[in-house]
Subunit: 394 residues, 2 copies
Amino acid sequence: MGDLLLTGAHLWGHDSPADVRMRAGVVDAIGSALDPSGADVVDVAGGLVLPGLVEAHCHLDKTLFGRAWVPHSAGDALAERIHNDRTRRHELGLPDPDRATALLTQMVAAGTTYVRSHTDIDPEVGLRGVEAVRAAAEQMAGRVTVQQVAFPQHGLVSNPGTADLLAAALEAGVETVGGIDPAGLDGDPVRHLDIVFGLAERFGVGVDIHLHDGGSLGAWELGLIAERTKATGLAGRVAVSHAYTFGDLSDAQQGHLIDALADAGVAIVTGAVYDFPVPPVKRLRAAGVTVATGHDGIRDLWGPYGSGDMLDRAMHLAYRSTFRRDEDIELALHAATYGGAQVLGVAPYGLAVGAPADLVVVGAGTAAEAVVTRPVRDLVVKAGRVVARAGELV
Amino acid sequence: MGDLLLTGAHLWGHDSPADVRMRAGVVDAIGSALDPSGADVVDVAGGLVLPGLVEAHCHLDKTLFGRAWVPHSAGDALAERIHNDRTRRHELGLPDPDRATALLTQMVAAGTTYVRSHTDIDPEVGLRGVEAVRAAAEQMAGRVTVQQVAFPQHGLVSNPGTADLLAAALEAGVETVGGIDPAGLDGDPVRHLDIVFGLAERFGVGVDIHLHDGGSLGAWELGLIAERTKATGLAGRVAVSHAYTFGDLSDAQQGHLIDALADAGVAIVTGAVYDFPVPPVKRLRAAGVTVATGHDGIRDLWGPYGSGDMLDRAMHLAYRSTFRRDEDIELALHAATYGGAQVLGVAPYGLAVGAPADLVVVGAGTAAEAVVTRPVRDLVVKAGRVVARAGELV
């Protein structure tokens, strides 16, 4: 693979325009008037360069993307929605590597270079979801890096056999162990966390727990997760997704919880979806808590929304956070880039020499403008290779 | 102007594909195998036809659209934001007919055929905003119908001279009289409503009041507005924009208020903006209250967001309302079409014989899919004339 040299680039976070030279999949040099010899030269003409976008929370195994519209068929209650998922996924041929590939294609075209997908595992579906997502990731190898979370969507303590399947998935290379509402859905928070953190220790993997539980229950569980993280020495490798409880807490309660998360090294992943509360991004970041973002479901049996475009997602996060100033809107973009990379354990990462050569070029004067206007991606580069141009896969 | 015949159309709300013939600016026939003689025939090949979209609440006079990105410069407090608006609008050359025209151009390209714009009027800016919006509307005449609300953004009772200017604007043909937080911003709810409804009666115009006031204060004001509407016989001609108070009320309190609005014939206009509460659309509609939607500010000194695309706005409304099923998502599209037309007093309107030939064609299998995916507008027709094609003005 030859070198790639972008000229006339405006790099996010850099004051003056610069060239970026990429060699052997890595950013090799950033500066002015870099030597073009031996490189494919692309003049990006003042385009804004962002690091490759990071989708930190999605469900590739569930998506109906890339086929005809499927009207949503579930009732509003959680029990109806779970029933709808468990009955219709088979009928619709899920999990389906082709649909997952279609969605990954759209993600890459929109500049995403890393994806964390929570994959359902239960005695009924077994590891078929893991295999489908792996097949899709192989289809898209070299264009996007996909990692999976072994996700007990339909319960862990309450769904016998699931824990063993999670272990089998981790044994087979799944990168992270998941969990879900240890109290509200699974009914036994202590045993749930015993299993999840036990698997994390046994397989040397990180943790990413769905926490929809609100109010004092959710806050208490978040505290438990922080305690477990400290006890297991997993600081920096544990994330809590959603954390809707923040919307129910007083400022003081939020403050105590944020301090506990910062102290334990627990990250927060928020999608800013529907009307669910968005954790206080600015306050979390100010306290040193990592914040990442992702779509959650995209066009699936849980809901019909989602584009796969992480600038779209950053817009939703900024908008719901009532961020208006450029520096605030950039916090949302940080979640869709650097914050996501931290949660996924991608290091080095970013617009710096020595980092993987993953980047996206858009026509925008500032990073905030890119979030607000979400222009077509002029160029997407993964590991130093152009993988999409003008919003289409190369 | 010749006739226009669309063939192979899938009309929203109609069961089977049909042709639509337009003559003299009006929908002349809907049916199968219509006579093409004397008509320009456009085969829309199964495209979905929606009535022309209705932007029921925006601020054309404030927009910075169509020029380089202007980073937001205000602090978060309301007082800082008002100060920012009053000082920077002059510096940035607002109100500006060219920027308003640029935004209207984008709106038309996205299928909007009717716009209600709230235009600032105060002793400092006088009627310059009204004139700027009128100039832009004239530039875009035949492509989009623009009506204005004489809007006392910076107070009415509390800003001497403003009432006379509102009267002058109405005298000069502005279609609707506005108001803003009669208690919270203007400080004298009874006198504020005396002036607003007095002007409505004097000039025979409708009313559209911004109501950001929350909690019991906002609910009380909403009740006052309903009472005034009944007392003045203005049922069906009064709208309240935003109505954030709904987010603070119990189910029972919401119910009482919704009954009062339905009884008085007061419509609700909601933008589903930022993290502000969205009134309960489904419940309002079920009670017979008209619901419309609009962007509110688009790329202006109050905030940098907004695309001008009413399918985008319908998506935000549906998403924040946690609408997942097609029939629910269509409630949001109704607000961006029929609901908006009711608020603007556009009648007849819609996909029916005798209505103005205003419509938009998109590539979507269902109306809900159009809201979720917001595809490029294949064709936009205003008064029987193609005004945009493939997302670009003709």
